[in-house]
């Protein structure tokens, strides 16, 4: 057979006695059913938050940046913190779909669709912050290089802020294309079993006339593989460039070469945590425990403990370098502004340490990794911790400048600054609720592809293998290739 061999000892990726038709039924049924009351309540809350956010932004646009509590040295406050936080979250989707595809990790199939959707919505939320931080948002198109009547005066291609414009917009476009090209066959599946006229029409348009032709599948596979190959360096470059926003400056606390790998690890860390929070809810609400299995949660928790520890090493390296460089500004930033618990923002540093470095260590235990409640709780903690990290990096480096005369007063956000952040949650969850209702939340075609080699009913159970004589086991396995 042409199916790839997989060890019988490996945990199944799809539980239960499934056929191809059953896979379609399980994943597409929530789209065809009426949304539950819980969905309406969640959606209503999300839209309410979005409205509050829209009003906060309206005030900011109408009255100016003065609506926020930014001051003379803290020019970047909550907005850029939130920007980096959302962009970081937006990294897990492409990592799961692209990097794991290149590494031939079959388990990505259960979670990639929702993770990619999350990426796209998170990047949409992230983009709001720098755009509205411009103040005169109606001139946002000035960031694009185009021939203009002001000289033409071009943008500064040597500036990390412009690199960011290119990085984020490319990342958004490529993620969207990757996501949608994967969705086309699944939309066709929904279309072909639709029984209402409207659904036939809308999914017919969305599926682009997909038929499932072998030639089309061949091209589709090639496209997915090359897009994965492009997205892998892309996902690393995007957060590297975000870190350049800080690292290329001369501000103590920002001016460090460790930033790119440290930011990328942090992004994967927070992104996986967000994937966990969302998928644990999705698998419960839509009854998809057979596809998003406890094994998936276990594997993602392994990524979380790995990247969390990388981030921890980065924090310690920064502290070490703060002392080792014997630069008094560096030392002041790292050892007083951050690590000293009773400095004005010491609480945020230690909050970050507790959430990001100490608490994920619980996942060294297999039992904890496979506990849904612990995972859900930890995923929230990690995202709080990663928010603190960005807050620490931005605010503690800015609030005391080189001269005591420019030491700023204590920065705390206004209600409209908080409202903007809350509003992006509204945007994110509004999109995610719509996605969960109207899109196949799991890649149907890809699950079918792995079903016969990784499905539980197609693998002999562990008991059977354990009961087998060693010699006959070796014999069977040798012939399975």
């Amino acid at each position: 057979m042409h199916l790839k061999y997989e060890s019988q000892l490996r945990e199944p990726l799809v539980y239960g006695n499934k056929t191809y038709a059953q896979v379609t039924e399980d994943i597409v049924r929530p789209i065809e059913a009426k949304p539950s009351r819980l969905w309406y309540i969640g959606f209503f809350i999300a839209v309410t938050l979005l409205m509050f956010g829209a009003y906060s932004v309206y005030r900011e646009v109408t009255y100016g940046i003065g609506q926020w509590n930014l001051n003379k040295t803290i020019g970047w406050g909550w907005d850029i913190t939130n920007f980096v936080w959302w962009v970081g979250i937006g990294h897990a989707g492409t990592l799961i779909s692209a990097v794991l595809l290149l590494f031939r990790q079959g388990w990505r199939t259960g979670v990639n669709r929702a993770a990619e959707a999350m990426t796209i919505f998170a990047v949409m939320c992230a983009g709001q912050f720098p755009i509205f931080h411009m103040g005169r948002v109606w001139m946002a198109f000035f960031v694009m290089p185009y021939p203009n009547s002001r000289g033409p005066l071009w943008v500064n291609f040597n500036s990390p802020l412009l690199w960011d414009v290119f990085a984020i917009s490319t990342y958004f476009t490529v993620s969207l294309l990757f996501w949608y090209s994967g969705l086309i066959p699944d939309f066709a599946t929904v279309r072909d079993r639709a029984f209402t006229k409207l659904r036939k029409k809308l999914y017919g348009i969305a599926s682009f006339g997909w038929t499932g032709s072998t030639k089309h599948w061949q091209r589709h596979e090639s496209l997915s593989l090359v897009l994965a190959g492009l997205s892998t360096p892309l996902v690393l470059s995007v957060h590297t460039i975000v870190s350049f926003d800080f690292a290329t400056s001369v501000i103590p606390g920002w001016h460090t070469t460790i930033f790119p790998p440290y930011f990328v690890a942090g992004a994967i860390f927070s992104g996986f945590a967000m994937v966990q929070s969302l998928l644990i809810i999705v698998r419960k609400v839509f009854g998809l425990e057979d596809y998003i299995t406890i094994g998936h949660i276990d594997l993602m928790n392994k990524v979380i403990v790995l990247t969390g520890s990388i981030v921890g090493i980065a924090y310690l390296t920064e502290l070490f370098m703060g002392w080792y460089s014997q630069n008094k500004y560096e030392g002041y930033t790292f050892w007083y502004s951050r690590a000293y618990l009773f400095s004005p923002y010491g609480w945020s540093y230690w909050g970050m340490m507790a959430c990001n470095v100490l608490s994920p260590q619980i996942f060294w235990s297999r039992k904890m990794r496979r506990n849904v409640f612990v995972t859900f709780f930890m995923s929230i903690i990690v995202n709080i911790g990663m928010w603190f990290e960005r807050f620490v990096i931005i605010v503690t480096s800015l609030y005391r400048d080189y001269l005591p005369s420019s030491w700023s007063v204590y920065y705390s956000p206004t209600i409209w600054e908080i409202g903007f952040y809350v509003g992006t949650f509204g945007l994110f969850f509004t999109c995610f609720f719509l996605f969960a209702k109207y899109f196949p939340v799991i890649a149907v075609a890809e699950i079918k592809y792995v079903l016969k080699r990784s499905g539980e009913s197609f693998k002999p159970g562990m008991e059977k293998i354990e009961a087998q004589e060693l010699e006959s086991f070796v014999h069977d396995q040798a012939h399975a290739h």
């Binding site: 599946t189 072909d192 682009f208 090359v226």
Partner: protein, 195 residues
């Protein structure tokens, strides 16, 4: 755009499909296509299809992006409006690498997806004949185009003997047309029949 006659055989297992493809081809029939619910690896080779060159197109789009970025930025910063940024060189290639890289990826990705849609004739509003509604669910649908000499009964018998669950003969549009999937009577063939 032409109506053609096809013999259709439906299989429910790829393990049955592969030998059937071999048998049908060995009997001298030309398989138009096999419609499958997911990418069945090796089926393209079994059908004798050549490898796709889509990745080569992707590479060409990629280097187009690279050259676009390098030439635009260097023209802007050395020729059109040389900005003095702290006395640094105007031709500051290392600082442009991020944008050059991003444009390479952007051009390659967008170009490849558009090429993919063009080659497979995929676009919103495009409609194609479906030989079986379950081809996107759980059936592998083999479609063989008939010539004047084809004996459809023989071919149906051959498909059945090779494990096809259902076989039938369909007259259908070969290409695509603009239409929506809520109306089954909008293809040219059926319109003619109705008129």
């Amino acid at each position: 755009m032409a109506q053609k006659k096809f013999v259709v055989g439906c299989f429910d297992d790829e393990a049955v499909l592969f030998p059937a493809v071999k048998q049908v081809r060995a009997a001298g029939y030309k398989i138009k296509d096999v419609y499958t619910p997911f990418a069945v690896h090796g089926l393209d080779h079994a059908l004798g299809m050549r490898e796709t060159s889509l990745h080569t197109a992707g590479f060409i789009y990629g280097i187009t992006g690279t050259t676009t970025a390098i030439s635009c930025i260097s023209w802007i910063f050395t020729k059109d409006w040389p900005l003095n940024i702290g006395g640094k060189p105007h031709f500051a290639l290392p600082a442009w690498i991020p944008i050059i890289f991003e444009l390479t990826v952007l051009f390659a990705a967008v170009g490849m997806v558009l090429t993919f849609c063009y080659l497979c004739q995929l676009a919103p509003g495009v409609k194609k004949h479906r030989f079986h509604n379950r081809a996107t669910d759980d059936l592998f649908v083999m479609v063989i185009e008939c010539s004047d000499k084809t004996n459809t009964d023989d071919l149906k018998a051959l498909l059945s003997s090779n494990g096809a669950l259902e076989t039938d003969v369909q007259i259908a549009e070969d290409g695509w047309w603009f239409g929506t999937y809520d109306n089954d009577n909008d293809n040219l063939y059926n319109n003619k029949q109705l008129a």
